[in-house]
Amino acid sequence: MQQKIVFKNVTRRFDLRDNTFVALDRFSLDVADGEFITVVGPSGCGKSTALNIAAGLLAPSDGEVLVDGHTVDGPGPERGMIFQQYALFPWLTVRENVEFGLRVKGEPAARRREKASYFIDLVGLGDFADALPKTLSGGMKQRCAIARAYAVDPSVLLMDEPFGALDALTRVQMQDQLLETWSRERRTVMFITHDVDEAVYLANRVIVMAARPGRLKEIITVDLPYPRTEEIRLSTEFTAIRNRVWHAVYHQ
């Protein structure tokens, strides 16, 4: 498989008042096309920093990120991002939110509508297309954000703890729906989480990071078939991988 995202010795420093802080230290990683990787690590280990650099929202101090062989130097339509706080535009309806990126692209109204409808249905919000975000639950808001990201047809999805604010049950439903969506609309996904179970359940590979300075610690391959089911979640193989990831994260 060809490489979709390549982190090449990416370092990011922040200037503090009296010293500089290394948030990310020579981080290198290859992500294959269509791969689903999850990133875990203690708070402050540079997960968001790495993701924001890949998104083009933050510039690296050293090194570079390549997407499809091109150096990232700003946000681009081939990279969609989903935020923990949903970041929906509250004055727009679900449909208008999903159409936002298409409108920016200058797509004609009929095409916008058609695409938006497709993705709204894909995430199961068909009955709420004309609702304002304030009338949606947290899970529904996040599904709207996912539809909005998908609508501009990015080949890469960057997700920063997208389910972090959801309750346990909604979270599991969102994981299943995300995998279902991913199996139908295959994208390369880089997904940050604090939840080791979630990391293993979703991923082809789990990237474990360490703090001070933020760096890559270990890559654990999840050799479990898709579609992932409740059965897999309860299997001994799953538990074994989960324990390995747990150990890597919490015994640093």
Binding site: M81, A87, L92, V104, D127, A131, P133, L136, S137
Partner: protein, 267 residues
């Protein structure tokens, strides 16, 4: 952001207006009637040297009949609205520029903070000397009052636009102009409207006071004249008119604000 509700309500694009609260309205009315009764009893018994309600009502009828009240209201409203509109129309672009460009903010902010500390009325002597005694100085101080309130609110609104929302727009491909038009403006609208309402309140207060000092028409002028002749009913009629007009304008702006910000999550 507020905690998301666990269950979703039915989709409603425009939130339905809440049913009128009849019990609350009833109590408002009872309170009003009771207040007038107390006023009546106190004045009729001679406990306080104020005119009783019937005198004020009679004066009100007179002033309506001879057209004086209408003339005063029209000239007061004309002043307040022209000053207020110029103030708001100038304040919004200035506020946006200040919020968007740090350089502009640093250049303008000291003036803003300084003039905010001067009560607009204190400008009147200077305005009269430099602008004469016609309408200009009055409109100018009202302009200043509403401009200062609205400009601060606008730029506070712009700088408090959620960064994540701007980033979300950027990753969807939006460039600066689109972000400004489609994100910054709508996101700061609630702030601006609050500022505009405060601006109108302070414009109205400033106007009446300005008319007390220098005017030949208007509700403030009428009270000032009435004071010379110890004409308390006229003062009462003017005061009540000032209160009611201020309340009406505030409610109108509140209704507009509610309409433009139905999308906001309210506690």
């Amino acid at each position: 952001m507020n905690a998301p509700p666990k269950t979703a309500r039915q989709p409603d694009r425009v939130a339905k207006a809440r049913a009128p609260d009849f019990q609350g309205l009833g109590l408002n009315f009872v309170g009003l009637v009771a207040g007038i009764a107390v006023w009546w009893v106190l004045t009729a018994s001679g406990a306080v040297g104020l005119p009783p309600p019937p005198d004020v009502a009679r004066k009100f009828v007179d002033l309506v009949a001879n057209g004086q009240l209408a003339t005063d209201i029209v000239s007061s409203l004309a002043r307040v609205l022209s000053g207020f509109l110029i103030g708001v129309i100038l304040a919004i672009p200035v506020g946006f520029v200040m919020g968007w460009y740090k350089v502009a903010r640093s250049l303008i902010e000291p003036y803003l903070q300084f003039f905010r500390m001067i009560p607009p009325l204190a400008i009147i002597p200077l305005a009269i000397v430099t602008m004469g005694i016609d309408e200009t100085p009055k409109i100018f101080v009202i302009f200043l009052a509403s401009f200062l309130a609205s400009v601060v609110a606008t730029y506070q609104g712009v700088i408090s636009v959620d960064r994540t929302m701007i980033n979300a727009a950027r990753v969807l491909g939006a460039k600066d102009l689109t972000i400004f038009l489609r994100i910054v403006i709508p996101a700061s609208t609630p702030f601006i409207l609050v500022g505009v309402r405060i601006g109108l309140g302070s414009a109205w207060a400033t106007l009446v006071a300005a008319e007390l000092i220098a005017a030949q028409t208007g509700l403030g002028y009428r009270m000032q004249q009435a004071q010379l002749y110890y004409d308390l009913p006229t003062i009462f009629v003017s005061l009540i008119a000032i209160g009611i007009l201020g309340l009406a304008m505030d409610r109108l702006l509140l209704a507009i604000e509610r309409r433009l910000t139905v999308w906001q999550e309210r506690a």
